[in-house]
Symmetry: D2
Subunit: 311 residues, 4 copies
C-alpha cells in the first residue's frame, strides 16, 4: 500500500487522486464541502465501501474536517466560536452512535511531557466529568445528566502497555456506551498545523501518521463506538523534504522539458532515501512552529470546550 504519512482522510484522498492521475472521484469515497464563513470550512468525507477503504487505507465511516484559518492566533471570543462549531459537528456524530444519556469516556492520547504531543492529556484535564458526582454528590447532578469520565492513559513509550490494553480494562470495568478519543495528528501540510480538526467515527490507530503504528482503538477492539478528534501538530521532517523535492522535480521538468531521468525520479518515493541520507537516526525529527507551546493551549481550549458543549 501507498504510504500516505498523514492521518487526515482528506489529504489521503488528494494524494491518491494525484498519484493515480484521477480526475473524477474515487469509487467508495463521497465528499461534500461547506463554507461556514470566510475563514472556516468544513469538508465531510464518507468512505462507503471496501474499495474506498482500500484506496486510502482508512476504514468505512465518516471523516469531518474543519479548517479554521486563524485558530493559531485566536483570542477568547474566537475560541468560543470555534468550540461551538466543533461542538455542533460532534453532536451530530454522537447522535448517530449513542443516546442522550449514554455514558461517555473521554480519552486523551499522547505524552504530557512532549509539547507537540500533549494535546490529549491537556484536553482531558478540562473535561467536565460527572461520573464521580453521581456517586459521591448526587444532589449536585441534574436528573438525566449524562455520565462522563475521562482518562489520559499515557503512551506506550512511558507505560510499556499498549493503550488499547489499558482502555480495554477500563471499558470492561466501567461500561461506557461510547469513547471520544483526542489525539495529536501528523499531517503532510504545514498549513494544517493547528488549523485543522478531524472528527471521525472509525476509531484511531495511534502513531499511524508517523510510521509508528500501535494497536487500533476502535469498535472492533473495544466493543463500543469510538469517535476521534484529532488536530495536526507536526509534520515529519522527512515528509516535508520529500514533498519539497517533488515540487522541485516538477519545476525542473517544466523547465527542462522531457527528461527521462527526472521522470524516473519523480515516480520513485524518495522518503526512505532522504531519511537515511539526510536525517540522523537517533531522533524523531519534526517540523513544528516555534510557537507550538502556545498553540497547543489554544487548540486544547477549543477541543475541551467543544466536547463539554456537545456532551
Amino acid at each position: 500500500m501507498f504510504n500516505f504519512r498523514t492521518d487526515l482522510a482528506v489529504e489521503r484522498r488528494d494524494l491518491y487522486q494525484k498519484a493515480n492521475n484521477l480526475e473524477e472521484k474515487i469509487n467508495g469515497i463521497e465528499s461534500e464541502k461547506e463554507e461556514i464563513e470566510e475563514n472556516i470550512k468544513i469538508e465531510r468525507v464518507k468512505i462507503t465501501n471496501e474499495e474506498g477503504e482500500k484506496a486510502i487505507g482508512k476504514p468505512i465511516g465518516n471523516y469531518i474536517t474543519l479548517d479554521i484559518k486563524k485558530l493559531k492566533i485566536a483570542q477568547e471570543e474566537e475560541i468560543e466560536k470555534y468550540a461551538n462549531i466543533l461542538s455542533n459537528e460532534l453532536r451530530k456524530i454522537l447522535d448517530i452512535h449513542v443516546d442522550k444519556e449514554g455514558e461517555v469516556l473521554v480519552v486523551g492520547l499522547g505524552n504530557i511531557y512532549v509539547t507537540p504531543d500533549a494535546l490529549g492529556p491537556k484536553v482531558v484535564n478540562d473535561i467536565e466529568i460527572t461520573r464521580h458526582m453521581k456517586k459521591y454528590y448526587p444532589e449536585y447532578v441534574k436528573e438525566g445528566a449524562r455520565t462522563i469520565s475521562a482518562i489520559a492513559p499515557g503512551v506506550l513509550g512511558t507505560t510499556g502497555i499498549e493503550t488499547v490494553e489499558i482502555l480495554k480494562g477500563i471499558v470492561d470495568n466501567i461500561h461506557p456506551k461510547l469513547l471520544i478519543v483526542v489525539d495529536s495528528l501528523a499531517s503532510r501540510s504545514i498549513e494544517r498545523i493547528s488549523s485543522t480538526v478531524q472528527l471521525s467515527d472509525t476509531g484511531i490507530v495511534p502513531g499511524a501518521g508517523v510510521g509508528n503504528t500501535r494497536a487500533q482503538i476502535s469498535h472492533d477492539t473495544l466493543g463500543i463506538p469510538v469517535i476521534s478528534i484529532g488536530i495536526p501538530t507536526v509534520v515529519e521532517t522527512a515528509v516535508l523534504v520529500n514533498d519539497s523535492l517533488d515540487l522541485f522535480i516538477e519545476k525542473l521538468q517544466q523547465e527542462a522539458k522531457s527528461n527521462d531521468y527526472l521522470n524516473k525520479l519523480k515516480e520513485e518515493d524518495n522518503y526512505e532515501e532522504i531519511k537515511e541520507a539526510l536525517l540522523p537516526n537517533d531522533y524523531n525529527l519534526i517540523v513544528t512552529p516555534k510557537e507550538i507551546d502556545g498553540l497547543i493551549e489554544n487548540m486544547s481550549s477549543v477541543v475541551s470546550k467543544g466536547i463539554n458543549l456537545a456532551l
Copy 2:
C-alpha cells in the same frame, strides 16, 4: 475510631500511645530502629495481629519509615545515596512477595497539575520500563530481565473513575505479579515534609490522610501484592492549628496549674471546630514549604532511582 489525620504508621502509633497514656508498647505492634548514619534513620514497624490493626487503623503488615534529614537540600551525590538506601529496603520487601523475574506494574497516584500532589506521576515518568521492549525490540532486552510497566491513572476528581477501577481493569488485562504504588502523603509534622519515605506491603487508601477516603488499592481489591511508597508533601492546615492549640493548652496548664475548663478542652478534639471557625470551606487548605516545586523534583528523583535500582 480516633481520627489520626496522618498516613504514617509511626505517627499513628505515637498518637495512639499519647492519647491512651501508654508507656509500654501496643500489643500487636512491633518496632525496631536503625541509624544508618547521622542524618538517616530507619524505623521498621510491624503490625502483627488484629489488636494492632484496630489500635492504629492500619492493616497487618510491614511499615518501613526512612527519615532523611537533608533530603530537602540534597545535591546529586546525596540523591544517589538516598536512592540506594531506599532501593535496599524496597528490594527486601519485594523479595518477600515476588520472584526475581515476576512482572511489576508501577503506579503513580496523584495529579500532575497540582504541585504537592504531582510526586506519583513524576516518578512514573522516570521509571525504566521494559514491557514494550520485550514485544517490539526483544533483541535489546537481557535474558531474565524483569518485565516492568508503569501508569499514572489520574485522580478521581479529574477522571470520574475510582483509581482502583482503572487499576483492576489493567491488572486483569496485563497480569502483573505485583504493584508498586507511589503517592504523596499527608503527615502531622511539618518536619517530615520531604524528609520521610514510608514503604509498606499493605496497599494504600488514597486520600485517607486528608479525610477524603477512596476505595483501597490492595491485595484484597486487586488480587496481587501491593507495595506502597509514600512521601509526606503536605500537612493539613486545620491539623497544624489543632496541634498548635494542644501544645498551647498544655503550656497554659503548666503555668496555670489545674484548670478544669482547660482540662476539658484538652480532652476534646477541636479539629472540626477549628475547621469551621477559622478556615473557609471553599478551599482545600494545606501547609507546605514555599519551595515545594523544587522539593518534589528531588523526591521524585530519589524514588524513581530507588525503584529502578531495586527492579
Copy 3:
C-alpha cells in the same frame, strides 16, 4: 512599630484599630466603600498625612482594594468582567499620574519557578507590548498609541541583584513615564487569597508582608510614579496559627470570664514564640489552597487583561 505581617492597607488599618481599641477612624486615614454587585466590593483607603502613615506603616497615597468573592472559581465570562472592573480603577489612578500617551513599563515581580510567587512573571507574559513595534514595525502601530514595555526581573534569591537596581538601570536607559508593578502579596486572611486585588500609587516594598524586606520600588528610588497591583496568594503559617490562638484565647476569656493570665497572654504577640516552638527553621512555610496552580492562572488572566484594557 507593630508588625502587621500583611501587605494590605485595609488589613493594617483594621489591625491598628483593634490593637488600639479605636472605634472612630484614624487621623490621616480616610476610607470609602462601594458595592459594585453582590460579590464585588471596592474599598478606597487614602492615607493623607504622616500620622496615618505612621499608624499603619504605609506611605501617603491611595490604596484601592477590590474584593471579588468568586474569583477563585471564575469562568471566562467572569474573568472578563473582573478585568473590566480592575481596568476602570487602574485607569482612574493612571490618569492622576501620567498622560494618555505617556510611556509605561510593566514589571512582574516574583519567581516563575515557585507557584504562589509566579503571578508577576505570568502577567508580564500576557501584556500587549508596543515599544518594539514602534521601532521595527511602525506601520502596525496606531498614531498616538501608548508605548508599552514589560519585564520580569526575577528575585534577589536567584539573581543576586536587588530588583530596584535592575529597574533603576532600565528606567535610566529607556525613560518610561510610569511603572506598573505586579506582585504576589501576603495577607493575614485565608479568605483573601485570590479574592482580593490591591491597587496603590505608593510603590512597593518586595517581601514586606513576609518579613523579608527588600529595597523599595517607588518614586523615591526610581524618580517616576510607581503604581502597584498586588494579589494575596499566601498566608504565612505562623501568622495563621497566631491569629488562631488569639481567637482561641478570646473564646477562653468569654467562657472563663476574667482571667489575668489569659489577659496577659492576649496582649502579647506570640508570633516569634510560635515560630520557634512549632515551625522548623529550614523552610519558608506557607498556607495556601491546594488548587493554587489553577488559581494563579485565573488571577494572572484578570490582571493582564485589566492592564491591557487600561493601557
Copy 4:
C-alpha cells in the same frame, strides 16, 4: 555578504571554504582540533584579522566548539563529565579576560515559555549566585569568593526592550567585570542539535542565526568582556530543505553528468524561493527533535554545572 544562517563559526568556515572551493585554510582563520575521547572532540577556531572576520562574518576572537556525541542521551554521570570539560574550557577563556575575584554577571537569553528557546533562562535558574550573600549574609561567604549574579532579561518580543538596553542599565548600576551570556543557537546541521557547545569571547548577536538580528551584546556595547556559551537547539526548516536540495542536485549532477541548467541552479541560493514557495509566512518554522523538552533539561544541566565549576 553570504548568508550563513548558522551561529557556529566552524560551520561558517566550512561553508565559506566550500562556496569558494578553497582547499587551503582561510587567511585570518586558524583552527586546531583535539580529541578528548571517542565521543568528545574540541575544535578551537581563532579569527586573527579583518580578512578572517570578513570571510565568515564573525568578529576577531576565539571560538571553541565542543562536540559531544551522546549529550542527548546522557545520564547523570556523563552530564558531570561533560560539565567538567566545558568548565575547563570556560576557565581558560575566563582567565584571559578577568582576574580570579572579578565580579561576573551570567545572562540567560531566550524565552522560558518557548521550549527550544528556554535554555538560557533555565541555566540562570541553576547558577550559584553570591552577590546578595555578600550583602545580607557575609558570614556564609568565603573570603576571596567571586561575586556572581545572574539574570534572564526576556526577549524583545515579550519585553519590547532590546536586551542590550536592559543589560546596559544593569551593568552601569552593578559594575560587573565580565558577562557570560548563555543562548540557544541555530545550526545548519541536525546532528549538532544538543550535541555541540560553542564558547566564544566576542559577544553575541541575538537572533543572528535565524535572520532576526538584534543589537549585539559585546564589549563594544557594554564596555566589558562578553563570553558567550551557545548550544544549537533548532535548524530553520527552510535551511534544511535548501541543504537537502543542494545534496539532491549534486546527486543529479553526478548521475546526469554535465547539465548546464542544474549547474546554474546549484550556484543559486534557493533559500528565499523555498521559503516563499513551500513554507507559509505566519509561522516561525523549526526542525527540532520531538524529545526537545527533555534535551533542554540535559543541556541546561551541563551548562549550569559547567559555569558553576568554572566560577
